[in-house]
């Protein structure tokens, strides 16, 4: 049996009991919240899954998501559960790198904060965002993009019929409306202001590159990483540096990433974060594998319970 650890981006919907699940195994989650609050000088200690302030703040949501990922990784590591491969979905890359011991906990916080600031700086005068379309093919959406506008692109393929768009908000709204008319089962504007994974962030990526060179000492990863951008497998610090930079302004393809890992004989994935977004996306990916979410932690740590 081969195991992959996969790391979700920031969460919009919690299962509800994540802090309790983690607290049953260690104090890491609380300690990380405290440590991050002190280090960043912002209040993360008062986090609860029902507090919308932590979902609606893009930056806080990223910090919290990262803390969930790191806490779960520590529990798995203490339980001697090791991955054969690791991969981060979008901004889940930071917790993925913590898992591989490439960055420390606080370096991850630094990277998240810096990327956020640079993205904000790079898009100050733009009305940007992201959207989701479920139920159309890539070809259908590409046709809609031709007819509708510049300034919006497909930036992630979650499945054959599930895509994320990024770009200028008015253009995204037009495409979402056209998609609904074309027969999409669902369209929605995501609760983010930043246009992740798009060329608008070329300037931010360049500055992020400089920042990492100057400030972040990256180590080789203890585990092989599968890139969500181009599905290559790597673990060197040089490649990790490049992945961090490109992750801001390059498209990701989660479907191909999962297919790559399944092709590497991974038959068990652990979603290392809150919520169950990767579990749900995984249901539409073909292959003989299982994805376990945090609420199956007891079974992961003690397979006899399955």
């Amino acid at each position: 049996m081969s195991t992959g650890f996969i790391f979700p981006a920031f969460i919009s919907e919690y299962l509800g009991n994540e802090p309790e699940i983690l607290s049953a195994y260690s104090n890491d989650f609380k300690q990380f919240l405290n440590e991050a609050s002190i280090y960043l000088k912002i209040d993360l200690k008062s986090f609860t899954v029902n507090d919308h302030a932590f979902i609606n703040s893009e930056l806080k949501a990223q910090y919290i998501s990262y803390i969930f990922g790191c806490s779960l990784v520590d529990i798995l590591e203490n339980g001697k559960i090791q991955p054969d491969f690791i991969s981060g979905y979008s901004m889940g890359l930071y917790a993925c790198l913590y898992c591989g011991h490439s960055i420390t906990f606080t370096q991850g916080l630094d990277l998240i904060g810096k990327a956020y600031d640079l993205i904000k700086e790079n898009t100050t005068h733009l009305d940007t965002g992201m959207g989701s379309i479920v139920g159309l093919s890539k070809e259908d959406i590409s046709e809609l993009l031709k007819g509708n506008s510049n300034g919006v692109e497909i930036v992630n393929t979650n499945g054959e019929h599930s895509f994320l768009l990024s770009g200028l908000k008015p253009a995204i709204l037009k495409v979402l409306e056209a998609a609904k008319n074309e027969g999409a089962l669902n369209t929605s504007l995501l609760n983010v202001r930043s246009p992740y994974h798009i060329r608008f962030l070329d300037g931010a990526a360049q500055k992020f590159d400089d920042y990492i060179s100057d400030k972040i000492q990256i180590k080789d990863s203890s585990f092989k990483i599968v890139s969500a951008l181009d599905q290559r497998v790597f673990n060197s610090s040089t490649d990790i540096h490049a992945e961090l930079v490109n992750n801001l302004n390059s498209k990701i393809d989660w479907l191909k990433t999962m297919e790559k890992m399944i092709g590497l004989n991974i038959d068990q994935f652990i979603e290392c974060g809150a919520g169950n977004s990767l579990f749900r996306i995984g249901k539409f990916i073909k292959g003989d594998f299982k994805i376990y979410t945090m609420n199956k932690l007891d079974k992961i740590l003690d397979p006899a319970k399955s």
């Binding site: 139920g135 599930s162 609904k180 074309e182 669902n186 539409f284």
Partner: protein
């Protein structure tokens, strides 16, 4: 196009009930035909998509998702019984569901 028999009606109802009980982690006895998929079960479009895929495979259906999407805009589904009814129409009419009122 498939003919809807009592057996198919029974199967579809069972699959829909079992799917939501499992997916939403509720006891199947708590689900009824009048249960609201969104309000009571916190259902969403990915669940709808998964159910369509289950029925496409089970009954070897020839239907495009966007045909279902266009139909569901005109005929929105809110309850379990409405969802079952739509799945039966999909099984019966496949892509021709687009020609129904």
């Amino acid at each position: 196009m498939g003919q809807i028999t009592d057996q198919i009606r029974k199967e579809v109802k069972e699959i829909v009930y079992e799917y939501f009980a499992d997916e939403c982690e509720v006891d199947i006895s708590e689900i009824s035909d009048q249960t609201s998929i969104i309000k009571d079960l916190d259902g969403d479009s990915l669940m709808f998509l998964e159910l369509i895929e289950i029925f496409k495979e089970k009954y070897d259906l020839d239907i495009e998702l966007k045909t279902i999407g266009k139909y569901s805009v005109k005929n929105p589904v809110a309850t379990i019984s409405e969802l079952i009814q739509m799945q039966l129409l999909i099984i019966e009419h496949e892509n021709n569901i687009a020609n129904l009122d």
